[in-house]
Amino acid sequence: MSRNPVAAAAGKFPEDVVRFDDVSMRYGRGPDVLTNLNFGLAPGSFHFVTGPSGAGKSSLLKLIYLAAQPSKGLVHLFGQDVAHAPASAKPQLRRRIGVVFQDLVLLDHLSTFDNAALPLRIAGRKPADYRNDVAELLTWVGLGQRMHAMPATLAGGERQRLAIARAVVNRPDILLADEPTGNVDHDMAVRIFRLFVELNRLGTTVLIATHDQDLIARSGRPVLLLENGRISPKPAQGPLA
């Protein structure tokens, strides 16, 4: 952990890529699933967010990747208050965030290669400029032999790696991953984690939501603990990966 996230929330580190100021969130007229969150993520930091089921981990990520809005408080991304950002600015903010969804959300009618290249196409890049990079990335995540395959024919671990490749292909400033190791065996989980570490070394801010306490303990990374909708930071434990 590069800095105390709570200190960042107090405004000491205005350059935080993510900052929550007194943020609460609820679905419809239900109770708050997140309550008065105050924290920040410094550029290049690596955090886990954990907590019991229903604690609001996925909701927290949704707020960051702009798939949900807070019922109270302010969310800042890259120093910009997203509540007051014009609608036209939000796609640009989203392009700076890579997301590995819990249910992966791959497009079944597109090949592995097309799925991985999707963020680059949306960003308006020309195929000639990125196809070699996509191929290299897919090879790096172990899908070099499966580029033509459709997602339905991929094994669980392969689908997971494809989702990760799609999330990182655009070299995002922030990588969010929701239970990225939930459906893979231990060895694959370690391998995926090493991918995240490598990305983090290249400068990407990483936030991983997971139940995998063993992975957290071995990673040596700081943790944001969510319980009853409230967040409390915990320092890094165990060895650094």
């Binding site: 796609p91 989203r94 959300v105 009618h109 195929p127 196809r131």
Partner: protein
């Protein structure tokens, strides 16, 4: 690296699946609507031509009914009227019709009367007017009055007004039917767009969260449904053209009937159909998709 997959030859696949199972029904419905729209357009063009033809014939002619005065014979009165009218500005020709013509006209009203010739039947003078500067009924009447001829001028204005009104009504009805069909096609496309968005919510969400703008996503559906509608419009236009050609051939030299003279050139009315169908579909899909995407996400 895959042995089969050649990265250098890779081309991006469409964001939306190229074919959906429901496309067949959608194409059928739009093709039928386009077929009906094309038939309407051809019918309106033919009716318009018929109305213009009738109006042209009637405006170029006038009929004068001459009643003899004093001891003058009907034939002499008619000859005098024709002479007076022939010298009037705006008249190309004035010709007293044979008495038999007048008898033929009134025979249906009186039956087969043997001594019809003994009745004081008025004579008729057919007047052909100058196409560029036709004489008015008042000018013709003045010319006859100046020669002390008792006559009534019929410039067919009542008929012309009726035909013009009927022609306008046909055009209005055609335009109304055409707009109704376009609206129905738009509604069908809007419905299909809603279904398409619902069925492809996964694509919409992934694109949205990957940073695609609402307009970008809406354009995918716009282009998709414009293509489907353009293809359906082409099918409908071809079918309508085939029907039109069949009617033209069956109708012989007069087109469908003398009352509805379909010309070969009228078949070209279907040409804009695929483009119009695509435009209607694109507009409907764009408006629907933008609205839905904003509420979905």
């Amino acid at each position: 690296m895959s042995e089969i997959f050649d990265v250098q030859r890779w081309k991006p696949a469409p964001f939306l699946p190229e074919k959906e199972t429901r496309d067949g029904a959608l194409i059928f419905v739009i093709a039928v609507l386009c077929f009906l729209a094309c038939l309407t357009a051809m019918g309106v063009i033919a009716a318009d031509r018929a109305a213009a033809g009738w109006t042209g014939q009637l405006t170029g002619e006038a009929t004068v009914i001459v009643r003899p005065r004093g001891g003058e014979t009907p034939d002499a009165a008619a000859a005098r009227a024709a002479e007076a009218l022939a010298g009037t500005a705006g008249v190309t020709e004035a010709r007293a019709l044979e008495p038999a013509k007048a008898y033929d006209l009134i025979r249906p009203w009186l039956g087969d009367v043997s001594d019809l010739e003994d009745l004081p039947v008025p004579r008729l003078v057919a007047v052909t007017l100058d196409g560029r500067h036709p004489a008015t009924a008042a000018q013709l009447g003045a010319a006859l009055t100046s020669q002390n001829i008792d006559a009534t001028v019929d410039d067919h204005s009542i008929w012309i007004k009726d035909i013009r009104r009927a022609g306008g009504l046909v055009r209005g009805l055609g335009a109304g039917i055409f707009l109704l069909i376009a609206a129905a096609a738009g509604a069908v496309i809007a419905f299909a767009t809603r279904a398409g968005l619902a069925a492809r919510r996964d694509v919409v969400e992934v694109l949205h969260l990957a940073g695609a703008e609402d307009g970008f996503i809406a354009r995918l559906f716009q282009v998709r449904f414009a293509r489907v509608a353009g293809y359906a419009g082409l099918l409908g236009a071809i079918a309508a053209m085939a029907v039109g050609a069949g009617l033209r051939i069956a109708g012989g030299g007069e087109g469908l009937t003398p009352a509805l003279p379909l010309a070969w050139s009228d078949l070209l009315a279907v040409v804009p159909c695929p483009l119009l169908a695509a435009l209607v579909a694109a507009t409907a899909a764009q408006l629907t998709a933008i609205g839905l995407i904003r509420t979905m996400l």
